[in-house]
């Protein structure tokens, strides 16, 4: 185990996979000479050369499609899209091509491709640079979408994504890049499509992915200390495939769920989670499934407005308390959060 940042874990995994397999190569804007907008690829051009670390023109549709075509002929490209906002330029290649090629041609060609891209918010980047639109991809059969929340998961899921024969969207998060955690030295790929219970508990199930899985764990730990609350936390890890059974089994035990997400609420990932719980644990629910998500506005620049639009820890704690109140759970009256 080594303590390292989420950023370092992704960097190191890309590097070790490039050392392991000649066919792994990187493509994207500013990933080489500039070393990446968020420096994930720092040093890799110098180490591997420009054949394996390709700076591309600003042409998301073009270079994403190029990576898909190269994957059809046996390369295992890892594409960096600077932020998920810009993936909209490439969405035709991702949705109409990467996701379709295996099925549409009756299984004749595989697309072993990884698209790495960070979501985010909270950095005063305004409306076009603060979106979390992973839902657009999680909606599509043929794609896999993974969203690690810890450095260890970033490593394990990156290993799995690169070695997978299908196109995988690997969702990173600007707010997580500098977070630290223990990362195992050995290479053990995660199983894509499995959620993780990051904290066991019995009072309520708190669900999140990416940054919100990190927030969920942090708040659950905090409430365990301050309030003696025993909250179970699920990190979805994978948005497609979705591990519905882990979610439903947890809710059957806790009888209540709160979903945390950084996307917009209406039609968002949480809507799918709520529907899953309704289908699979209807008789076990003691309270409606609660969702904590982004306010439904184009993200404002002004700090006061941006902060109000994004789910805060306070928002999460309120949702937890209200859900516990709804099921009649007793908690300390001295809570500092009320």
């Amino acid at each position: 185990m080594t303590l390292m940042s989420y950023r370092q874990a992704i960097h190191d995994t890309l590097r070790s996979e490039m050392l392991r397999d000649e066919n792994v190569m990187l493509l994207g804007e500013e990933i080489g000479v500039f070393e990446g907008s968020y420096k994930i690829t720092a040093g890799l051009l110098a180490e591997f050369g420009d054949k394996r670390v390709r700076d591309t023109p600003i042409a998301e549709e073009g270079f994403t499609g190029v990576a898909i075509g190269a994957a059809m002929l046996g390369l295992r490209p890892v594409v960096e899209i600077m932020t998920i906002n810009f993936s909209l330029i490439a969405i035709d290649q991702i949705v109409n091509h990467a996701a379709k090629i295996y099925g549409m041609f009756g299984g004749q060609a595989k697309v072993p491709l990884v698209i790495r891209t960070p979501g985010g918010g909270g950095q005063q980047l305004g409306a076009t640079h603060s979106q979390n639109i992973e839902l657009y991809y999680a909606f599509v059969p043929g794609l896999k979408v993974v969203a690690p929340s810890t450095p260890a998961d970033a490593k394990a899921l990156m290993l799995a994504a690169i070695r997978d024969d299908d196109p995988v969207l690997f969702l990173e998060n600007l707010a997580l890049y500098n977070t630290k955690g223990e990362v195992p030295a050995h290479d053990e790929p995660a199983v894509i499509g499995k959620a993780k219970i990051t904290r066991e508990g019995s009072h309520l199930t708190l669900i999140g992915y990416s940054r919100m899985a990190y927030v969920a764990k942090k708040i659950a730990d905090q409430l365990a200390d301050s309030e003696h609350l025993d909250i179970e936390v699920i990190d979805l890890c994978s948005l497609r495939p979705l591990d519905r059974e882990t979610i439903v089994n947890s809710v059957k035990k806790t009888h209540a769920a709160v979903m945390l997400e950084d996307d917009w609420l209406t039609y968002g990932i949480g809507a799918e989670i709520a529907a899953t719980i309704s289908d699979g644990a209807f008789d076990y629910l003691d309270a409606p499934v609660r969702r904590v998500a982004m306010a439904e506005v184009p993200m404002p620049y002004a700090k006061s407005l941006e902060s109000a639009a994004m789910p805060s820890e306070h928002d999460v704690i309120q949702a937890i308390y209200q859900t516990l109140d709804a099921i009649g759970h007793r908690r300390s009256k001295t809570s500092p959060h009320d």
Binding site: G62, G65, G74, F105, G106, P112, L242, T276
Partner: protein
Amino acid sequence: MPAASHREDADLTTAKRTTTSSVASTTKSTTTRSKSTPKKTKGAEATTQLDSQLLDFYREMLFIRRFEERCARSYTQALIGGYCHLNLGEEAAVVGLMSALEPTDYLFTNYREHGYAIARNIDPKAIMAELYGRVDGVSKGWGGSMHLFDLDHRLLGGYGIVGGQLPLATGAALAIDYHRQSEVVMCTMGDGTTNIGAFHESLNIAQLWKLPIVYVIINNFLGMGTTVERSSAEPHLYKRAAAYQMPSAVVDGTDAVAVLEAARVAVASARSGQPYLLEVTCHRLRGHSVVDPAKYRSAQEVEELTHFDPIQLLADQLISRQLSDAASLEALNTAVLARIEEIAAFAEASAHPDVSTLFDYTYASPVVNDSRRLPGQALFDETGAAR
């Protein structure tokens, strides 16, 4: 020309490869001849080879023509579904281009691709079965008319999104370059496709990285119903390559020999690491797809189309050069029609894919927690397992 026997015609596509390679030297030695009326003054051997090539082209073009006409009929009989775009009028372009490729070269194309699949030597029965949506189709019935694909014959699709194939083809060329292999990629598109971003992004990347790729514009002067003039600020489409410092040329696509020669230059350039843009002009003889009555074309325009029918032009040439006569061509036609009937019968007899295979092709690798739920089913079964 001897009346083609049934069997000869069945061997049509195999014969092509041999002819193509044997004629390579001929073309080099006769590069100065005029496009549509090769002179007989270049020596007997060269003439014979050219003659036999013209006959081969004719056979192949006629086969494509009759195949496409049969598709139109099967479509109106509801044996073929979806959209169905035909190569009618583009047969000379198709056979000329495909003859310039080695069997190991790759082709990416669009939804108007039945002829290309035939000219790549893919079994026409498997092509027709795909159009019929049957298990014996090239893509087991998953693709249909717009999405033909055959890895063995290096046809890497058949794409229905205008321009979608361009970045993919460019990426395939990148993989070839990455592995230092000698194949080239040919990527065909329509005239309308030169206005989409993917065209420009792809040409720019290919030229920057010196990828082994030939982009081919099949300029039939129409998008669906929109003319080149109404859609393209630079209507001389090959000139667009200048923006990327890429060599380019335009060739008369009603003349298969001219197309072959131009394509050879393009392919040689790509093989040496210099991507190339080739514009091939031709005329779509019917509507955009089978259902389009093409009312946007004037009666005079439709009348004039007969002058651009590559099959009629080549038939005239074969007769005037005394390489064939009307009776022989008619006999060939009869043989081709019989073969097409067999192909259609094969397609119709092929089974519909079984519903149990519905979930077999979403992912290439085993997937944990993949959804295998039919439309009306609940998310969880009686045992509580997720579907």
